[in-house]
């Protein structure tokens, strides 16, 4: 019904009648962020960057007996897919100049997008690690060393190039935790491990039978937007 009426009465986008003259830069900007992550190799990171990020996310969220860490949960895959997509390019942001450093309450003003930030910060971090006694790559460092590096970035004692250390740390922390808790379709929260850890049932859409059951543990396991693996027949 709506479709029929819309064909008649809704004039979508291009106005009818005749071709007018062009006014540049007018098209509607939209970013479809809902693309599920595809399996396979890194889409944005180089293999070396991927190994670095896996090492870092596994310290931000360390594995324990019940729940995988950031690496096992797929947080690095999540970040890789996000950086390869609209988020990595700051699509939808206001990106016209001039770029002026403001005060904190005026919000981010950098012309650098997340993909560029990860690339330059990871390179600087790698140079820093290679320059330390022993000269190891970041990905080869033991947990305690990685924790020290993260703490140094967080407290701005390790600044990297152009004071980028703290900015990179905040981005990495946000992105890692988002990957951990977002729907698994984006590559993190593998097997809904983060949701199982906290007791979040995910994309169930109807709690009418539970809203009045106070102080009782909700008994059902989580569901993703894409369903559950054990609901889906195995493919050969």
């Amino acid at each position: 019904m709506i479709d029929k009426l819309r064909r008649r009465d809704l004039l979508t986008g291009t106005a009818a009648v005749v071709i007018g003259q062009s006014l540049a830069r007018a098209s509607v900007i939209s970013t479809d962020t809902g693309e599920p992550a595809k399996a396979g190799p890194w889409q944005y990171f180089t293999p070396a960057e991927g190994a670095q990020v896996e090492a870092l996310v596994d310290r931000i969220i360390p594995p324990d007996a019940q729940t995988p860490g950031g690496k096992g949960a797929g947080c690095a895959v999540f970040i890789d897919r996000q950086l390869a997509g609209p988020f990595g390019r700051h699509e939808g942001w206001y990106t016209l100049p001039p770029f002026v450093k403001g005060i904190k309450q005026q919000g981010p003003q950098s012309s650098k997008n997340p993909a560029q930030l990860y690339r330059s910060a990871l390179a600087a971090l790698e140079r820093y690690c290679r320059g330390q006694p022993g000269g190891k790559s970041l990905a080869e460092l033991p947990a305690e060393k990685l924790d020290e590096i993260l703490q140094a970035l967080e407290s701005s004692t390790l600044q990297l190039q152009g004071d980028e250390g703290k900015t990179f740390f905040e981005a990495l922390l946000t992105d890692t935790q988002e990957g951990f808790f977002a729907d698994p379709i984006y590559g993190g929260n593998r097997d809904m491990c983060a949701w199982k850890m906290i007791g979040f049932p995910g994309a169930r859409y109807d709690y009418r039978d539970w809203v009045g059951r106070h102080n009782e543990r909700y008994p059902h396991p989580p569901v993703s937007i894409a369903g559950r693996a054990d609901w889906t027949p195995k493919r050969r």
Binding site: T12, G13, L23, R59, Y94, G102, G107, Y207, H214, N215
Partner: protein
Amino acid sequence: MSIARKLPRKDVVVIGLGWTGSILANELTDAGLDVVAIERGPWRETAVDFPPNRVQDELRYRIRHELFLQPGQTTFTFRNKMDQSALPIRTWGAFMPPNGVGGGGVHWNAETWRFLPSDFLTRSHLIERYGAHFLPADMTIQDWGVSYAELEPHYDRFEYLCGTSGTAGNIKGQIQPGGNPFEGPRSRPYPTPAQQQPYSHTLFGHAARELGYNPFPQPSGNLSQAYTNPLGVRLGPCSYCGFCEWFGCANYSKASPQTTILPVLVRKSNFQARDRCEVTRINLDRSGRRATGVTFVDSSDVEWEQPADLVILSAYTIFNVQLLLLSGVGTAYDPVANRGVIGRNFTHQTISDVESFFEKDKFIFNPFIASGAIGMCIDEFNGDNFDHGPHGFVGGGYMGQVQTGGRPIQTTPVPPDTPRWGARWKQAVRDNYLCALKPGTGVHGSMYSYRDVYCDLDPTYKDRFGRPLVRITMDFHDNELKQNVFLTDRYAEVFRAMGARQMVKKYRKGPYDITDYQTTHLCGGAIMGNDPKTSAVNRYLQSWDVPNLFVMGASGFPQNAGYNPTGTLAALAYWSAEAIRSKYLKSPGPLVHA
């Protein structure tokens, strides 16, 4: 600039097809007028745009803002003080402007409040009770020019359009048990009973009652039961899915233009909508006193002129202000000379929160079971419901356990001594998710208007058409910060009485920070009133300067009250539509002679 192609004349052009645009389009097509609505964003409908296998996506909708306007399309610049340089808002923070058909009505929480009778007389009421000296010298609050009694039938009309679920507190002057005893008299009960309350919301109500308050369920546009509205459109019952704010509703159970008006509107032969078309200017004739229509740009970058006899400006608050400024309607506000009206009395809200932590295994809140307008609230500290004399501030807000869900990217609170990452953080998240509360907008404080809080055109930054962005100059004033300390402390006492073992009071502090989300309740900038020297539109929302232009929405609020604005801006839309139908169409011209 190219010469725009001209379309055939219409009786009415509506700019922006959100709540108020939909209401006006429906009322004016009912009056027999030929109406075209021009909407910047895309058409949106339930089955296509927010089906149940897609909507429950915190990353996509809350974190990446999919349903909202993209700043790349247009944004604002911001500074705290007049002597600072404003910089562009490159990604949303403090508020998130809507985009597309349905506007904010698609992704709102559907809290459907009425303002207090005294809110419409803010200035005269406060001066009468406390004396003029009690108000800060630079506070520019005003009376609205319309009374609660005049708006009551229109509040009622909107609530019955939406099927609002609630418990009345005052029917024709009789106080009702279980409702808000402070509300203005309503002519009849809510159309549907209040929603069921989950555990933590219920506990808040019990604790508030023990403390001597009068708790009541938040009036909700997420419906407690199926409902057929007076237009014949049917809504379904809310399923408490916990994905309401920022999200579209897949159940047809959240009141929105899509679930209440549009199904009727799109069937009318005298209605037409253009989506993905952005109005860039309201055109005036040579006298500057009459609008001849609008100019818009379509998604193929073609510029068009749409002539019309009547122009309804019903975009989001600040875009109303921008179009008035760019079109030369009315006089731009000058805070130094204290002259002009467009951009004046711009306000937001004073929101704060208390996070609370309860004993594990003794309290299982299941925070993911909720709706957008769920919650038990108290109104003892709103408006002028309490004596402000001893406290040295004016204004207030409702407060309540109004947590809308447990979506885990944003709602995994940890006790304050927890590191931000690492094994201890992970364990704290695991231990606290089910037994911690993070209401979000728990204290819903008012923000009153000031001489140095306003909008004008930015001298540096432009939108993609090369038009100046709107510049926001906004900071918190002492009155609001004092109000917030008082309210947040009272609020925390309720959580203490609920049995919280640890609480974190998240006071609203200055300076105003554009990165810190409060609400999208920007108000003012084109305010209503009785004096054209201090208001942009008259009591019927008609432009003082261009009588065939009516300006809808919260841009008309002279200051913001301690409630969500949608109920009031929708009531004003019906009030204005009635004036257009019963008065203006019979004799087009100014409805109020100043």
